[in-house]
């Protein structure tokens, strides 16, 4: 094919349009990932619920049936209780979830990850968590927080830090 000014102009135009398309849509229009005046609350934990049945000592007969190297003094069932969490925001329950233990024997950790968008400003937050088979929540935490624009408030559970944490 012979090159002349018409073909060269055509090529320049098409290359230019291609570049313009890529250049524009690689950064425009700007994306509002979070609206102004909003913050984010992330409720997340990985936590083992307590055992469904408490550990009990083995009887002498049961111990005798076991090989000598397996004679542990306590027998513990593997299954764990589901972990229930409730979060109130300014007196309204905004999140309630029952996290089931993982694993075929239901002996793994229960996990939660939830992202909630809320307006900035002062909020009263109450968190209740239950990791036993009993009827009552055995961990609670209440706090008043001041949320700045785009701030991420994380509600977690860490037994080593006293249970429910807000950070």
């Amino acid at each position: 094919m012979t090159m002349n000014w018409r073909t060269l102009t055509g090529q320049a135009l098409l290359y230019g349009l291609f570049a313009l398309f890529i250049g524009v849509f690689s950064s425009w229009p700007r994306y509002q990932a979070l609206p102004d005046g909003q913050a984010v609350m992330k409720i997340s934990f990985i936590h083992h619920g307590q055992r469904v049945a408490p550990c009990r000592p083995l009887t002498a007969e049961e111990l005798a049936k076991l090989p000598p190297n397996m004679r542990a003094p306590l027998k513990c069932e593997r299954e764990r209780a589901p972990v229930t969490i409730e979060v109130d925001l300014d007196g309204q329950t905004v999140f309630r979830h029952v996290a089931q233990p993982t694993g075929l024997s239901r002996d793994g950790a229960a996990a939660v990850y939830q992202r909630l968008v809320l307006p900035v400003g002062e909020h009263r937050i109450a968190v209740r968590l239950k990791d036993t088979t009993g009827p009552d929540f055995n961990h609670t935490r209440e706090a008043t927080v001041q949320l700045a624009p785009a701030q991420v408030l994380v509600i977690d559970f860490d037994a080593n830090k006293g249970g429910i944490t807000l950070s």
């Binding site: 291609f18 570049a19 509002q32 997340s44 990850y113 977690d156």
Partner: protein, 485 residues
């Protein structure tokens, strides 16, 4: 009918670039070029990258101070190359879909190509995380939340307070190195069942595309968007919509809905080839008695449908082609490549080494003989998918339509002239637009003596080769008028 507007668009691009270098006809080859550019720029970037969460952004930012704006060129080439790759990939997919090239012998390329789409997007998304800025943070967390919706385990917990560990950042690096390697392997598999696959575009197109991306990199340098901070959510982002479009979709419609739509689209594309279609013409048939086992048909098949096996009738070491019917497009390119495909043979029933059952070479010779005996002196061989030669009005014209112009053995041109034709015109589709990929290329090369079997040297004014698509019949007429008998 449905292809008319696409053919018209192709012709516009042909006018600017020439048919062989038309980017619309070289989308797959362009994809390979862009993959090369991404691999080369990516390797250099990896050498310069500090692979720790704290140092990654700083190391990328330092590129801005590199001499002669080489850092901008490198970064722009990688980012805009990825953008271009995704654009070219989707254009390639839509073009093949529109042209119905997903059934029968296209199946393998279609299925492997569709699988490459999510893989390419995953490669691209992972690249943003390595530049650990606000955009990388947004993309990494959005991806983790998207995965959580499917897997159920909270991957996104890795991005809570405390920042991202170097261990997790190493995983990012692994993702952006491992997935592209898989992509390269997938691209190799994609073209495995093609004969002479176009894995690099014409040089002029490759140069033009590379220079365009470089110019874009200088004119619109890629910039980071501030250091990542998992304690806050990025609010306003200069989002790359070509590569990260899934994140806003998930934000708008939920992660679960985006998964469902993606799975439906992908699944729909994967089952398309199984949709019932009209009956296919019979595959090419090998005639062992006429075959010398030269293997030219193997080399000329556009879909790699022929392989060689030991010849049952000849001495040890002589091979015989074997056609895999499922991969055969019944184009007849193999027929023209066979040295036995010559009308000069004295046998009463013309036979050749490999032939099309629905349009045997003997039938073509018979049509030619009858036409010449009836006094026609201008022979036109054409393609049933190209310009409609039956519409030619000249009473002197003997129009012979083949499944593809590439099926015409050059010796038929010679034969027609010896048997009384004054001129012979061979018309094929424009290069790059052939439904059977290589028809016009092989025909042109055989006629000018660059490919076996080639045309015997004949007076230049006695024959003509013209590329004309369907709808370009006036060009054929004009070519006939230019070269009167």
């Amino acid at each position: 009918m449905q292809q008319r507007w696409l053919t018209a668009l192709d012709h516009r691009f042909d006018a600017a670039f020439g048919a062989p270098a038309n980017p619309l006809k070289q989308l797959g080859a362009l994809g390979f070029l862009l993959l090369w550019l991404l691999a080369i720029s990516g390797i250099v970037l990896y050498v310069l990258l500090d692979t720790s969460a704290a140092g990654a952004l700083r190391s990328i930012e330092r590129l801005q101070d590199a001499p002669w704006r080489s850092g901008d060129a490198l970064r722009g080439l990688h980012r805009y190359g990825a953008d271009a790759f995704v654009v070219v990939m989707f254009a390639h997919l839509l073009r093949e879909l529109w042209l119905g090239r997903f059934r029968a012998w296209h199946r393998h390329a279609w299925w492997t190509g569709v699988v490459l789409v999510p893989l390419a997007l995953a490669c691209a998304i992972g690249g943003f995380w390595l530049n650990w800025d606000r955009l990388g943070q947004y993309s990494a967390i959005a991806t983790a939340e998207w995965l959580d919706a499917l897997l159920g385990t909270p991957v996104a917990r890795n991005f809570l307070a405390g920042g991202v560990s170097d261990r997790l950042f190493s995983l990012f690096v692994f993702v952006h190195l491992g997935l592209p390697l898989l992509l390269v392997f997938g691209a190799w598999a994609h073209v495995q069942r093609l004969g002479h696959p176009a894995v690099f575009p014409r040089r002029v197109l490759a140069l033009g595309t590379t220079l365009t991306l470089l110019a874009l990199a200088f004119a619109w340098p890629v910039r980071s968007q501030g250091p990542a901070d998992v304690g806050t959510v990025p609010q306003q982002l200069a989002l790359d919509w070509l590569l990260l479009f899934l994140h806003p979709l998930a934000d708008r419609f939920s992660n679960e809905a985006t998964w469902a739509v993606s799975a439906l689209l992908l699944g729909g594309l994967l089952v398309l080839p199984l949709w019932p279609a009209r009956a296919r013409p019979a595959a090419a048939q090998v005639h062992p008695r006429e075959c010398s086992g030269c293997g030219r048909c193997v080399g000329d098949c556009p879909y790699g449908a022929i392989s060689l096996v030991p010849h049952p009738l000849r001495r040890t070491g002589v091979m015989l082609p074997q056609v895999r019917a499922a991969q055969c497009a019944s184009c007849g390119l193999c027929v023209a490549s066979c040295p036995s495909s010559t009308p000069f043979r004295k046998t009463a029933q013309l036979a050749t080494g490999i032939d099309l059952p629905q349009f045997p070479l003997a039938q073509l010779r018979e049509q030619l003989r009858r036409g010449l005996a009836a006094g026609k002196r201008r022979v036109v061989f054409g393609c049933e998918r190209g310009a409609r030669i039956a519409q030619l009005q000249d009473p002197q014209v003997l129009a012979l339509t083949l499944p593809c112009a590439g099926m015409l053995p050059p010796s038929f041109v010679d034969y027609a002239l010896r048997e009384g034709a004054r001129t012979v015109l061979v018309a094929g589709c424009r290069e790059g637009g052939c439904d059977f990929r290589l028809g016009p290329r092989w025909t042109a090369e055989r006629l000018v003596g660059e490919r076996e079997p080639h045309l015997r040297t004949l007076p230049a004014e006695s024959w003509q080769w013209i590329e004309a698509d369907a709808g370009e019949e006036p060009r054929l007429n004009a070519a006939l008028q230019e070269n009167p008998p």
